[in-house]
Assembly symmetry: C2
Homo-oligomer: 357 residues x 2
């Protein structure tokens, strides 16, 4: 694996040279892992497990605190591990000065407090925001990443087959959710990719619903939006089920339109298509049926080391689909009076279209 | 509960007035929840579930995106909910201008990118870093918080009694860890408070060890550092066990010294004592025994809505213990050759000393 991380850093180095950067300080956890294999997670939002200094001259540093020394040494040349103490920003300033003068930082990946401490730690550095360089690489999945994603989605499909049998009247959202989590964990997932959504009845109208004590009744809709992490990679899928044998006409019509919108997008998407056009393919189906106002979010987002990553498929998206991108296709219709429908597949863009993972 | 959140905002308002702030933008998730009951977690490190604007005049705002409108309305006056779209910083700038001109933000709770977007969204605001005002309130636990912490620690103690029977040769760290997680979840915890540490043999020498495939052998040490979240509040405890009937002299001596250091701290700690003195109580035991070099971290940290919060008990800590503070007391000794010992209780500071939770 170490060669893969090194080759990613080489690609990043090319982008850094084009920007004239001597060094790039990587703080965002998924970017750090992508470039080094070191720690996919930080322990808390305000605690870093470590940072990477990618340099124009190729002598990259892994900077962390003493807790992580052993983990760092399993991955990184001992002489290029930098251990900082309590004053991380000040010490990193010193390290960065040894790497050059023009330094990029991730403005979206550091706190204002850290950026200030770094900028005021001393003279000699020209610090600039250099976001998106790694995220841009991460949009195109390499074969090793596709293999991991396929494993993660295979388990997600297996779970969704299993869960249908669990949807019986009387069982609460929270019970179903815990069952899903156990299924994932006992079949190879390291964790959930994100907090489960299991939404019964009207709760399905909330794009963001927390599983609670509401229970399945005879004849009600249940929306399930869940993902697991396998081999470091996330999966993300949604299904909307009807429990009982008498689905309402509203439900059937909304489900039918949602699936039509999804099919239109998946059949139409191909390399070179603008992102916003992918969104329009689904939106047009809803618009023709006069229900577009009930489609209240974008069509999809990238999936990889993070559940939500670049690119996004919305009416405001820039750029076009490229082979190797992995994106969700998740149209939905929401009606606060009775509930909502969402159906989500994740697809990989290939040379001649897209393939469902 | 809503009165509790309102009374916390009143206390914050006093601190804001002393600083001359017209408004304080709360972004940090635990602070947001502490002041409003709204969403303890953000969906991803780079995605906010919403922000709070606490104002000097008492007309506070809950700002979020449309996904969270329903959740917001369960807690907050409809007329004071502000829904932003894609350009959150720009829209928040407009909201803040309606609240005054001198505005505090949490420099540790916002990204550099967000702070820049807010500062450049338009004229009329004097924005300053105003960190720690909420964290300072959170250090002193209210009765309702103590009750939640007691529940969380009661489950943690119950689990630690149970887990001792699970430590049998052949079982891997990862298996034990998953068993612990299931026990917590099936007995009332909403989630783990932090990633479990279950470290066998030499792995126990790593203060940060990820449970892996290493298995328990006949006669080996096992370090378990785990916590759960119950009623929103975290617990955090560590034990070090010897599996088998022939603990080594090294193990016994290190365990004995660690427990002595912990007892010295717990018996000595009381209101008014400087934080660094609490650390010194434990450190002195190790120093007298000539093993202080193997005690490589601080003595403890606050526990509440977050596992790691203020105050911290280290040689560099400022301030003194106060009634209502909840802190861990977790001395440890680490020996890369064979493993390590840590023993962690969490205590609440009371009028005449501390009580173990």
């Amino acid at each position: 694996m170490n060669e893969i991380f090194a080759s990613r850093r080489e690609k990043l180095r090319q982008a850094m040279r084009a920007r004239g950067l001597d060094a790039l300080l990587i703080s965002q956890a998924a970017n750090r892992f992508y470039l080094s294999g070191f720690e996919l997670h930080d322990p808390q939002f305000n605690e870093s497990a470590g940072r990477l200094v990618v340099t124009a001259d190729g002598r990259d540093w892994l900077a962390t605190d003493a807790r992580y020394l052993d983990a760092a040494e399993r991955l990184w040349d001992h002489d290029r591990i930098f251990i900082y103490g309590g004053g991380a920003a000040k010490e990193l300033h010193g390290l960065l000065r040894r790497c050059g003068s023009r330094v990029g930082i991730e403005a979206q990946g550091v706190s204002l407090a850290f950026a200030r401490a770094l900028a005021t730690a001393g003279p000699g550095l020209f610090i600039e925001a250099a976001d998106g360089l790694v995220e841009r690489l991460r949009r195109i999945k390499e074969p090793v990443e596709v293999a991991a994603l396929e494993k993660s989605f295979a388990l997600n499909h297996k779970m969704l087959q299993w869960v249908e049998g669990q949807l019986v009247p009387g069982r609460s959202e929270a019970e179903i959710s815990w069952g899903i989590e156990q299924f994932f964990r006992q079949n190879g997932a390291s964790e959930l990719a994100f907090a489960n959504i299991v939404a019964v009845g009207k709760n399905a109208a909330l794009p963001h619903a927390i599983p609670g004590e509401d229970a399945i009744t005879e004849n009600c809709p249940v929306l399930i939006d869940v993902g697991c992490r396998v081999a470091y990679y996330c999966s993300d899928q949604t299904r909307t089920f009807w429990v009982g044998d008498a689905p309402t006409d509203q439900f059937r019509r909304a489900l039918d339109l949602t699936r039509q919108a999804q099919t239109a997008a998946i059949e139409g998407m191909r390399p070179g298509m603008p992102m916003r056009m992918a969104y329009a393919l689904a939106h047009d189906v809803f618009a023709r049926a006069g229900v577009a106002a009930a489609f209240t979010h974008g069509l999809g987002h990238g999936v990889g080391l993070e559940t939500h990553e670049a690119p996004s498929l919305s009416p405001r998206s820039e750029g076009a689909l490229e082979p190797g991108m992995v994106v969700t296709v998740e149209p939905g219709l929401y009606y606060p009076q009775w509930g909502g429908i969402r159906w989500e597949y994740t697809v990989i863009v290939e040379e001649d279209g897209v393939r469902i993972l």
